[in-house]
């Protein structure tokens, strides 16, 4: 029986963790199987959660979030017969599969859309916890914006420095209002549950927002420009389907294997003009072909298009 552990943002963050939940649910409807799931309440519980699931024979155990990395490095060797899948982090153990995403590529695409949709030539980015991973989102986004409008202004904010930053919609809303007052009319939220506050505030203030991880277009139809989708659901679905036969090692999910994408559906069809779509699709093709190289912040902790 497989198992899934959600990070502190919670299963229903409408974003990262919920995407994982979506994958698991899809697996349940398609296979009729059952799985176990756990939500983290605090940092200190991670180890117990992992051990408990391993003890009771769950296999594979999928966990969402980089924060499990350190603990998994300790626990995995104790359960050599159990397979672990960690999303967003690399853990080098013989029984661990690490899945990381090319968020900079997806962010680049939504950055282009943001620049094209903006009338003020000022766009915003609200990150969750201030860590390299989130800066990677912001950096890709800024590159996309600058690719369309080199002189455009990108306002970057982070919600906080601790995991609480993933779950603070009030602060997300306040930051969005502040960015709006500075002229931003499109705001990209890469902040887990905090993003809900950003999307809400943007809708209230009559500006556009961009969702993250899951397709969040439906949350405020016509108010969410697009979403940078990370196919975490696919990762979970694949892992659950493979079962104990999960292949350990590192997997990179990017544009070329549809690991990341921008979302287009009925809810935002009116916001994305054909020209915008054409421009973005072209850029996507170039990225896949390697013609456009999007800089990954985490490779050298610098960003050519923005300063954090």
């Amino acid at each position: 029986e497989p198992a899934l552990i959600y990070d502190l943002g919670g299963k229903f963050d409408k974003s990262f963790n919920e995407a994982a939940f979506g994958g698991a649910s899809r697996w349940v409807t398609e296979t009729g199987g059952t799985y176990k799931e756990l939500e983290m309440q605090s940092e200190a519980q991670r180890e117990q959660a992992l051990r408990r699931l391993a003890e009771t024979g769950s296999n594979p155990i999928v966990m969402t979030g980089f924060a499990f990395g350190d603990v998994l490095g300790q626990v995995a060797p104790d359960y050599p017969d159990t397979k672990f899948v960690i999303i967003d982090m690399v853990v080098e153990q013989p029984n661990v599969k690490s899945v990381v995403f090319a968020e900079e590529q997806g962010s680049y695409l939504v950055g282009m859309l943001a620049a094209m949709a903006s009338k003020t030539d000022t766009v915003g980015f609200i990150g969750g916890m201030d860590i390299p991973l989130i800066r990677k989102f912001g950096c890709g986004y800024a590159q996309g914006v600058k690719a369309v409008k080199a002189e455009a202004n990108v306002i970057l904010n982070m919600t906080g420095t601790t995991p609480a930053a993933w779950n603070d919609p009030v602060k997300g809303g306040e930051l969005a209002k502040s960015q709006k007052s500075q002229g931003a009319d499109v705001i990209y939220a890469a902040a887990g549950g905090t993003g809900m506050g950003v999307l809400q505030a943007a809708a209230d203030e009559g500006i556009l927002s961009i969702g993250v991880d899951s397709n969040q277009n439906h949350l405020f139809p016509g108010k969410v420009l697009t979403s940078m989708v990370k196919r975490v659901d696919n990762t979970v679905f694949d892992a659950f389907t493979a079962g104990e036969a999960v292949e350990p090692g590192i997997t990179m999910a990017d544009l070329s294997n549809d690991g990341v994408a921008y979302a287009l559906d009925d809810n935002n069809a009116a916001l994305i003009t054909p020209e915008m779509k054409a421009a973005v699709d072209e850029a996507a093709a170039k990225i896949k072909s390697g013609e456009i190289k999007v800089h990954d912040y985490m490779t050298d902790n610098t960003c050519p298009a923005a300063s954090f």
Binding site: G10, K11, P169, K177, G197, Q200, D204
Partner: protein, 322 residues
Amino acid sequence: MMDLTTVLQILDSTIRLGTPLLLACLAGLFSERAGIFDIGLEGKMLAAAFLSAAAAFVTGDVWLGVAAGIFAALLMSAIHGLASITFRGNQLISGVAINFLASGLTVLLGQYWFALGGRTPSLTGDARFAPITLWGAEALREVPVIGPIYYELISGHTALVYVAVAMVPLSAWLLYRTRFGLRLRAVGENPAAVDTAGVSVVGIRFAAVAICGVLTGLAGAYLATGLSAGFVKEMTAGRGYIALAALIFAKWRPWYALGATMLFGFLEAISNRYQNIDLGGIVIPVQFMQALPYILTVVILAGFVGKATPPRAGGEPYVKER
């Protein structure tokens, strides 16, 4: 250093963030002025935030949500009253228990009702408060200086913000100009004096605790239906304790409470907006800003700056016979 729009933005945010603190602080003021210490403000707010969001979602009417929030806080107040007035228990312990009770029950019930891990579904439309544009705001908007101040800062808040601000003069009036206020203050100073004057101490104290419930109910409802759009686990995030700190800072007085809560709201607005503040070479980390309300309160408590004297009979159950 900062232009007017930025300043207005921060002050605007200050008002939004200060409002729940103000309501909770006034709530605590009524309770503590009547001699009932209340460290359970946090729990009452949390319970109110949850039930108001839940009711607003189910009924689609934010005012019904507010009513439900007040009901939840009143329930918690009733427990506090029962423990500390009727059974003469330790008020601090009762407060601690209420905080835990709210923290646990909100998630338990939330999960049972909505299966969203303790949060309520997002509120939309009439299930949450919309900003109110005050009369003449649009017209005045273009007038320099006062235009933006009136339009940005004073107009455009949700109904409960105006209710909260109106509560300040109302509380002051009630406390200092009415019979009820006189008795309430007396009960917090010397309950025996009130008792021998032929007034029921228990009655006044329960009334005070009930007022505290109504106000924390408003505070919680504002958090869930005004400031954000729905309930999130632990969404009060220590605001009840900040309100308590503000109450000490305000020396248990209504107008001072307005000042104290707005100061603390301002600190929160600043720390929301800036991760670190660079003051010409000295960088103030955001964590310091977040801790500042507590640090200031400790300084006040230490009595180095403007000693705060709590109501004399505060925290003591009124016991006539051993």
